[in-house]
Symmetry: C2
Subunit: 602 residues, 2 copies
């Protein structure tokens, strides 16, 4: 094959331009022998020496050729022989259709021994085969190549990341990570197929510095010398542990265990504060008005730069945020839920310590964030606890007494619960209101206002002048607890209304409400409507989309186009600062009211 | 100024397109007030608020305006008010004309305080003013900006390197470094003017690992665990010391001392082995056939990546090489001597332990490298020493006896020299041949072949069967010493002839011979011709170009275009491996012969 021929287009290139799938790990260099096609009619020219090396006599007799070696002089009818591997999807949660196009690719190359007539440098041997990709000098620092076949790992068609001995083009792994304030989830992905190979999750190790983002930011502020570094280290340590854990469980036929050094890209979705802390960037400006973060744009760096141990030169992609309180987790969710492509009015809501709401008016995105406080996650509540074994997660108030559903126990038995988690709190407040034990303004009724025969009478307890709900022998719900929930629901509902108003839409215009997040997934419509977090009109419009933050990270891993579209989405999402919105305080006060009893279902 | 206006071309942009010089450190953002021009005729429109802030009543009355604020609607006659700072040049050595266009630039920006209505992230504030340059996340890690004026340092129009408080646009510094096997020279450059602010030089600290490149490569080979790291560390330590030293001596009006953190770019020329060792890349393949280096291309990295301490994010540019033995020092020299632009036949030669020769046939470049050995630098010679105080640097053999010129002493006195350096060795061998004390084949004549009355008789000494030249009471030149010089001169002369032959040219075609390098600068034409290092025909064609390696590094620092042109030059320079050239051994043997006495002048 002369250099002159090289410039003409070969059959492989022609087929790829037509969008037909032909496997070609060596990128048409005649090294891998995998780009076989069958010539059905037409003259494909002489069979080359290279083809004889890879094709059997039988194959040649059938008209099978290596498409990178055929330079068509006339029209050919060609049958491709491989089926494109169908992209598989995550083990759980809603995943939209996407075009697999990973930013990391592998390519076979062949290193030959230099001689006195050809002293081409090692770098130039690589460049000649790989096209003009950048070769980081750090890779040259430990480049000791002998003659033979190698697999080049290339990032974004522009930079060589690693060289693996032999043909490793079948194996390519990445990790998608969702860093929540409370929980961190790591998913190991086969980037060749999109299959999830395993997951690990941990309580966010930053909890020792505070349960919510503001407390952690305070920690950073109070420890100017090393606070930022501590916060970063615990989270990167935790990610390293999880990567170890997910790899340990794997077993790939023909390869064995996936090792950490097989992971070449990691994508991260997180709220804006978590993202700052992951990258070791000060989050202080997020913690105080006017809430201007240091950055919102996506970041693409070497994972090693922040201490994450993975493959040589492995990339770390951090999804973009919109503002201090609309983070990459929400951008991920909005992307997964295709909010920019909606042909209707959709409201997306992630309920948690911060409630984030995105309204899509036929693709135009408007967002706000509501400081709901930690009550909805079981914090700042007398007997509040996280959703774990022993936590009350549902409550029914019946004429026969209080019935509880406890995590890890059979239905509605009353075996000494340890406390009450977020969904339990919402359930009990909903029930208190449904049964009239609290008024619309959230105050407990007085025991003297109901008769002693009333089934509710024994459930009310008077402690001095303080009224409480007696949930079990030991557990009480206090007026303070109800107020905490009330503040949270007021914050979210007022955000909901303010956003609709800003968009110039009414409740009737709303076609769908999407509930995102792991926490939201545990909140039944009855609790959401019954406590008045959401208005009754949306009851039949709710759908649950699961952990869309992790799914967004997954899509970014599997597709460069998804990264780009998320960046565009983040750029086009408008943000409304509730605190700076006219009439917001009045709206918030109105939204503190609980619904009418009649509107609440069991 | 509305966004609509922004898109029209202002007067500043028009003037710059016409190639007229207008100072504008804020890049036309209306922040610095420096782009004043005088409107001689035509209507320049209304004076803006911004202009009133920067211009006095008197200036306005004279028709002076800020050119970035004027959007011409008609033809204007304009007088520019500043004179472009004239580029100054290095303190010594030949420097061709060049276009100053540094890759590092400074730009004024203004940070404003965010508020609840505008929560633009700090990163986005920067991006809006700087255009879409990349902001490395490491810079975000220590970004604590208050409201006010900052100076952005931008690399290659694409990446933000640093932010300095206040207006620092008048100050920009860089360093040009020449790493020779023997000597390292560092030059501190004012990149705004091109002026050399100071120099420092050191014996290459790698000398503890060997005096020549092959010995150092052996050291690396013999210490696989940390040899490469040691070799790298001594050289980077040494560069850090020199940067300290050159800065320490400076005093800039209005600024004070230049600090290391003011240095934003460092350019390095070096031979291929030194470049590998500087970057911590194994040079082992350079030390053995077939001499294929790990890399030859230019490298552009952060100086901190190899432990060089300079400004935040400071760049390190390593000039490109051609092959294992035609390094970036020769590329630099060939560029400085404009070999690609020559309209004649020019031979460029750098004489040292390795002699590198480049032949330019009207711009077509052909090169070779000759392993001359260390004799020409005074090594492997009985009383050899480096060029230092006490070394014999010139010798005359007269009828009145041997006259010496000793470094640090008055002319031709004989005060106990310590030894003989490279130029002295060449001089004495030339004199031995001129006076017939050695024959064409390099052998000493026998004492018995001349009469005892001959003035040369007492200069010949017989030590058993070994003949020696008695230079002083203590110092002798042995037959072995003469052989060392003979091997060196044979290597260089045969390279010279082989290159001419390969180019299809004869001696008559040669228009000029350029002698490069610090060592070459000390070799008079008489020695070069008299010892037969160069043929007698070139005697009147010699010119000396000094340390063109350092000058090349300087040009790369001052001009992005120079970098690009050097890369092209390196790419287009052909390399001939002498050892693989047919008939080379015969040619080498022929070239061992010394010239006829009659051809040698005193």
């Amino acid at each position: 094959m002369t250099m002159k021929n090289m410039k003409r287009e070969n059959l492989l290139e022609k087929l790829r331009k037509e969008g037909r799938f032909v496997e070609n790990p060596c990128n048409g260099k005649g090294i891998c022998g995998k780009c076989k096609v069958k010539i059905l009619s037409g003259d494909a020219g002489k069979v080359t020496e290279t083809e004889r090396r890879f094709l059997s006599e039988e194959e040649l007799a059938q008209g099978i050729r290596l498409s990178c070696m055929v330079y068509p002089e006339e029209e050919l009818e060609v049958e491709t022989l491989q089926k494109e591997k169908k992209a598989e999807v995550l083990s759980e949660g809603y995943v939209p259709e996407f075009e697999k196009h990973t930013e990391i690719k592998k390519q076979l190359i062949h290193i030959r021994k230099p001689n006195l007539k050809d002293q081409t440098s090692m770098e130039d041997q690589l460049l000649i085969q790989l096209g003009n990709v950048e070769i980081p000098f750090s890779l040259l620092q430990h480049l000791e190549l002998a003659e033979g076949t190698y697999t080049a790992v290339i990032w974004s068609e522009k930079s060589l990341m690693a060289l693996e001995p032999g043909d490793q083009t079948d194996y390519l792994y990445g990790a998608a990570i969702d860093i929540g304030t409370t929980t961190v989830v790591t998913s190991l992905i086969d980037m060749m197929t999109g299959k999830e190979m395993g997951t690990a999750s941990r309580i966010n190790a930053q909890k020792e510095f505070g349960l919510d983002v503001l407390t952690r930011i305070s920690y950073e502020t109070e420890h100017p010398e090393d606070g930022k570094e501590h916060l970063q280290k615990v989270i990167t340590d935790s990610i390293n542990e999880m990567l170890d854990e997910v790899c340990r469980k794997t077993e790939v036929p023909g390869k064995g265990r996936i090792e950490k050094h097989d992971i070449y890209e990691i994508t991260v979705a997180a709220n804006c504060t978590m993202m700052h802390m992951l990258l070791g960037v000060s989050a202080r400006s997020i913690g105080r008005a006017p809430y201007a973060p240091a950055f919102v744009k996506s970041k693409n760096l070497r994972a090693a730069e922040i201490g994450i141990r993975a493959g040589e030169g492995a990339r770390l992609y951090c999804l973009p945020s919109v503002s201090a309180y609309i983070g990459a987790d929400i951008v991920a969710g909005a992307y997964v839920c295709e909010l920019r492509k909606q042909q209707k009015n959709v409201l997306f809501i992630d309920i948690g310590t911060n409630g984030e709401i995105v309204f899509s008016d036929h693709g135009r995105l408007l967002s706000c964030s509501c400081a709901a406080g930690p009550a909805l996650e079981g914090m700042n509540i007398s007997f509040g606890m996280r959703a774990a074994v022993g936590a009350i997660e549902d409550v029914k108030i019946t004429e026969q007494g209080v019935k509880l559903q406890i995590i890890g126990q059979e239905e509605y038995r009353q075996e000494k619960p340890e406390g009450v988690c977020g969904s339990g709190i919402l359930a009990v407040v909903k029930e208190l209101r449904r049964t009239g034990l609290i008024r619309k303004d959230g105050a407990f009724i007085k025991p003297k206002d109901i008769s002693e025969e009333d089934y509710r009478y024994p459930m009310l307890e008077l402690d001095g002048r303080k009224r409480k709900f007696k949930m079990t022998e030991r557990l009480r719900i206090t007026q303070g607890d109800v107020r905490q929930v009330q503040l949270a629901k007021g914050a979210i509902l007022s955000g909901f209304y303010a956003l609709l108003k800003k968009a110039g839409r009414t409740m009737e215009d709303l076609d769908q409400v999407m509930i995102a997040g792991q926490f939201g997934a545990h909140l039944p419509a009855e609790s959401l409507i019954g406590t008045g977090i959401l208005p009754k009109e949306v009851k039949d419009k709710l759908i649950y989309v699961g952990n869309s933050s992790k799914t967004g990270a997954y899509l970014a891993l599997m597709s460069g186009k998804a990264k780009q579209e998320m960046e565009e989405l983040a750029h086009h999402m408008e943000y409304m600062e509730l605190g700076a919105t006219e009439g917001y305080e009045r709206l918030f006060a109105d939204c503190l009211m609980f619904p009418d009893e009649s509107e609440i279902t069991e």
